[in-house]
Subunit: 155 residues, 2 copies
Amino acid sequence: MDFEQADAVNQAIRLLSLRHRARAAALLAPLGLHPGQEVLLLELARTGPMIQAQISEAIGCEPPSVTLMTRKLEASGHITRTPAPSDRRASVVELTDSGRALADQVKQLWCTLAEETVTGLPAQTVGDLPGVLRTLAGNVDTRQPRPSHGRRAPA
Amino acid sequence: MDFEQADAVNQAIRLLSLRHRARAAALLAPLGLHPGQEVLLLELARTGPMIQAQISEAIGCEPPSVTLMTRKLEASGHITRTPAPSDRRASVVELTDSGRALADQVKQLWCTLAEETVTGLPAQTVGDLPGVLRTLAGNVDTRQPRPSHGRRAPA
DNA sequence: GGATAAATATTATGCACATAACTAATATGT
DNA sequence: ACATATTAGTTATGTGCATAATATTTATCC
């Protein structure tokens, strides 16, 4: 691949990252949320109570980041953290009533953002988009070891 | 759009942002660069000397961020900042020899990253990718005022 | 069962990027 | 020409996320 194309791809990803995040921040601000926190709320709403290690895995953030996120959401009363009975290292994270209500609002907002984001694209492209983006993300996943080249790792 | 789809889109963008940036960071580290700095070097290599306000516009970062980026790249000797003769507010940013050499290395690395990123996607999809991503980024641009809905603002 | 390894969470620290508030220089309007 | 508005850049501050180092608990292996 020549530099022009490569730059187009990398730059576009970078710009999209900045803008999408900024727009999410603008939409979340009225709810008193900062970007990143919404992901945690949605994950808890989807999956139910879970420990931080599971959250870390689910939302793709490192444990120290999860510590900070949960601490802040706990401080604002949207989640609780209780020691796990079976494992005294772990702490179970759970939505409060306030958190559940907020998650519902976030869901709506999430739809608004997604629709806004894909405006003007043909339905076909929109349908393929999540798969394509996930492939891209998987290809540059720094957690998994780099496959030597071109071949996909087996399941 | 229902929540499932919206979440798929938003989450995929978020994950791609995190991973692509992390991978870029891993590749740039051996060159002594942090992600973000490479964009400035490439822009200077492409366009030539420019003042910070132009850089801010070109790379999509706010002026205070540009101040920090340029300061650090100046400290590491890859760029110079000289007062503009015609406008004493502005400072002209320019690549040094070291910066030009580094930019060449970054170009190669940029190709590696892009190829790695799009691995496994059909050529058609890869070809369309920059355009699609730029559309997405444009749709959520917080700088431009939001069009009330669906209509594009006139030039 | 006692040493050792692994897992969970946290603290400390560093980076990019943002907004708000500010200074200094240039344009502009009467 | 002078008051005013705009523009270029900086400083101060706050956010998310990362890595490295650390305690504490649990699992594993003779």
